[in-house]
């Protein structure tokens, strides 16, 4: 374990010195070119095609459609002056060309330009000063302005060719909180997941592939069921879901078969009442059915099926001073005459 932690710390420390960020939080690398679309396109009125003329024949996403230095030189005489490298290059001692961007998308500029010549339909905010140039690359939301599934197709495979991953589209933490996002604004989901039942592709309920839960989860889910209800309830209505196996198929939870379960189930009921209710809460609840918590003889606290010895009730027992006394595992301690457990002797009706 110590080796593992050391490895992590080493990776963190070794990676940090190379990271530089601009004012908008965009990470600059030494091979970025200093360039402003705002100055060129808006202020100087340079036509996009003057620098990006190759886009008309470009059919692949990884085609380099950025101008060579000679194209810059057609307007900027400084290109030929070796003392002026710093005008465009961050690192004048070792000037790089453009930053390499890996693209695995299927995309053709040529096909898109045949439908519209307006570059700004996809490349928004080109004229906005202070925005780094790589941020002008359209994200997937912009694709959906046209590829809405109605006018133009929007199946994943059209662009991603089977290389799509959740991380390509959804941010960190998505797996945990996408349920709440889906509740609040499903229209965003429906851009890709046009049919609302798309959720079922993963949340189908049979766990045959281990995508949602480990394959052994059927045998180990008790660990989570008692301590992570926030996660369980995102998908499962515990009121009915647990009942499907535990009650209908008569598969008792492991803790029910332990020697101390009879003594401890009161505490479990207080902690996880939903889990209990999932199987036992019906029109004839198990607690009363069969006699455990049903007072057959009708005399307060004398039914041996509930209490082996109910004699202490006749005396002033320790439950009067101890709020954690075991009676309160089942009975309601109200501290008020006529109500709950207190009401058994101190007036009022029995609960």
């Amino acid at each position: 374990m110590s080796t593992f932690i050391f490895f992590i710390i080493w990776l963190s420390a070794s990676a940090s010195p190379f990271q530089v960020y601009n004012s908008s939080g965009y990470q600059i690398t030494p091979d970025d070119i200093i360039f402003s679309h705002s100055l060129h396109a808006d202020s100087a009125g340079v036509d996009c095609e003057l620098c990006h003329g190759t886009v008309h024949t470009s059919t692949a996403a990884d085609d380099i459609n950025l101008p060579k230095m000679s194209v810059c030189g057609s307007c900027h005489d400084a290109v030929k002056d070796s003392s002026q490298c710093g005008m465009c290059h961050h690192n004048v001692k070792k000037p790089f060309s453009y930053r390499k961007v890996e693209r695995s998308l299927i995309f053709s500029h040529k096909a898109h330009l045949s439908r519209s010549q307006d570059c700004s339909k996809c490349h928004f905010d080109l004229g906005k000063p202070g925005v780094s140039d790589l941020e002008h690359l359209p994200d997937m939301n912009k694709c959906y302005n046209c590829h809405d599934g109605e006018k133009y197709r929007n199946e994943c495979e059209l662009c991603h060719a089977g290389k799509i991953t959740l991380a390509d589209i959804h941010p960190s933490g998505w797996r945990h909180d996408h349920g709440d996002r889906a509740i609040n604004d499903r229209s965003w989901c429906n851009i890709c997941h046009r049919q609302e039942s798309y959720c079922i592709d993963c949340h189908r309920g049979d766990n045959t592939t281990g995508r949602i839960h480990d394959l052994n989860y059927q045998f180990t889910h008790g660990l989570d069921a008692q301590s992570k209800s926030i996660d369980c309830r995102k998908c499962h209505d515990t009121r009915t879901f647990c009942d499907n196996c535990h009650n209908s198929n008569l598969r008792m939870p492991l803790n029910h078969s332990t020697a101390v379960w009879r003594m401890e189930h009161g505490t479990a009921a207080r902690n996880d009442i939903e889990n209990c209710a999932s199987c036992h809460d019906n029109s004839d609840p198990t607690c009363a059915r069969g006699g455990c918590h049903r007072d057959f003889d009708g005399i307060k606290g004398t039914d041996p099926r509930i209490h082996i010895d109910s004699g202490p009730l006749a005396s002033h027992g320790p439950w009067h001073n101890d709020d954690n006394f075991y009676c309160y595992q089942c009975h309601l301690n109200t501290h008020q005459a006529g109500q709950g457990f207190c009401g058994y002797c101190h007036g009022g009706e029995r609960q």
Binding site: I8, L11, S12, A15, Y21, G25, E150, K151, Y152, E155, E157, A161, G162, S172, G173, H176, D177, D180, N184, D185, R186, Q195, E196, S197, I200, R204, T208, T209, G210, D214, L215, N216, F219, T220, G222, S227, K228, S229, I230, D237, T238, R239, T240, D243, N244, L254, N255, A269, R270, N271, I273, E274, A277, H280, D281, S283, P285, H293, N333, G340
Partner: protein, 434 residues
């Protein structure tokens, strides 16, 4: 067999061949609305054949496994489909959506086999009248006050671009008897949501849900939620109120912050257990759930993230803790988890690999190892081990074939080997889109 109950009437539908779906109606009383509706749809479809579009995904699976000494060979067949019955101007449309799956067991049949589960099947009438959407049939309902699968009707109306209202009503589907449409009097559910988004980064919601449970219990809740995105911050909160007991039912808060190379998230949940108000369980002095989660992620270098999280569930008598740490790369994921306190003790290791060989072939593997005990009294821990490895092939766009081997070992089943095969194909007929 598919049973539909409308009061005194029962309609039985049997699904036959893989060539198509034929419904056999054996009626008591009148066939009624269902048949009429299907006939109307067919007439509309045939009279405007040019408007018909059909697209979706059809899949076949096989899962062979052993459980409690019995072999199970389960074939699955299913379809997700969208039938565009009619399309008019201004995005007006009538569509039929369905997602169903059929399965049986070739070796050891259970009492529920064969079974057909309709995850959803509903008609969607869009923009008639303008800015409205009406959904009729089996569908999921998501709502800040709760969610359910129901057979019923849902209507959504976009009042203005910044505000929309959604109302629904029907009967909840039982996961134990999904083939039944249950009666409204015992399983009726209704509710709605008003969503307001004064700005793109600010959203509010008002939710209502009333749900009957098997005729003897019910849940009535109202909830408000709000979401605000400020630069790299995202805040989300929800408060739910139990209308029957006149008490708070849930408080949820979540905050996330995403500076460059980092991701932080904190979450807090307090909630009242969902227990019917008129049963023996309601008189038990049960504890409220109080849970929190902290999550941090650091992008160390490109395609290498370090993720850590702590989850705590606080009870009055004992707390439960979960710690997780993992490395997430572009083609691998390694994680370790430690759990202690109420609910059991567990140490687990997870390894996931996913390697894309090229655009057509992909291999993947996973392994989970755990040492746990659910009960404190248990003298030794149990071991659980599972692993899987598979290969995925996409010979052409929209066609996927997958074969996967699985191996399990745990305290209940000493050893087991499983196999999973899947074939899926996207389809599209009469598609007018470009």
């Amino acid at each position: 067999m598919f049973l539909v109950e409308y009061g005194r009437m029962t309609v039985k539908m049997r699904i036959f061949s893989s060539q198509g779906i034929f419904f056999q109606f054996c009626r008591r009383g009148q066939i009624g609305a269902t048949t009429a509706l299907i006939l109307v749809l067919l007439i509309i479809s045939l009279s405007s054949a040019k408007a018909i579009e059909l697209r979706g995904n059809i899949f076949s699976e096989f899962y062979g496994y052993k459980e409690l000494g019995l072999n199970h060979y389960r074939p699955y067949a299913g379809m997700r489909a969208n039938l565009g019955i009619w399309r008019g101007e201004k995005s007006r449309a009538l569509e039929l959506n369905t997602y169903f799956r059929w399965t049986t067991d070739l070796k050891t049949k259970s009492s529920t086999d064969p079974q057909t589960f309709f995850y959803d099947t509903y008609l969607h009438l869009a923009n008639v009248p303008a800015r409205s959407h009406i959904y009729i049939g089996r569908q999921f309902v998501y709502n800040g006050a709760g969610s359910l699968l129901m057979d019923g009707i849902r209507a959504k109306y976009i009042i203005i671009p910044q505000a929309q209202i959604e109302l629904f009503g029907g009967s909840a589907v039982s996961s134990a008897e999904p083939e039944k449409i249950r009666n409204i009097s015992d399983f009726g559910s209704f509710g709605g949501r008003l969503a307001i988004s004064p700005a793109g980064s600010t959203k509010f919601g008002l939710n209502l849900l009333s749900r009957r449970l098997d005729g003897y219990g019910e849940i009535n809740r109202a909830a408000v939620d709000a979401e605000q995105v400020i630069s790299r911050w995202r805040l989300f909160g929800r408060a739910a109120y139990n209308l029957t007991r006149s008490s708070m039912a849930e408080l949820l808060g979540r905050i996330s912050f995403q500076p460059p190379q980092w991701y932080f998230e904190g979450e807090f949940l307090w909630r009242e257990p969902s227990v019917s108000d008129n049963t023996v369980f309601s008189i038990i002095d049960y504890y409220r759930y109080c849970e929190f989660r902290l999550n941090g992620r650091r992008t160390i270098i490109k395609n290498l993230n370090l993720d850590a999280r702590v989850t705590g569930t606080l009870y009055d008598n004992e707390n439960a803790w979960n710690f997780q740490i993992g490395l997430i790369g572009s083609w691998y994921n390694i994680g370790w988890r430690h759990q202690t306190g109420y609910g059991g003790v567990n140490d687990g290791l997870v390894l996931l690999l996913n390697l894309r060989l090229n655009s057509r072939w992909e291999t993947y593997a996973a392994a989970n190892v755990g040492r746990y005990k659910v009960q404190k009294e248990q003298p030794t821990r149990n071991d659980a081990y599972s692993s899987q490895a598979g290969i995925l092939w996409r010979p052409i766009t929209g066609l996927t074939a997958r074969i996967e081997g699985q191996y399990l070992r745990n305290a209940i089943m000493t050893e087991e080997t499983r196999i999973y095969i899947k074939l899926a194909k996207d389809f599209s007929f009469f598609d007018s889109r470009k």
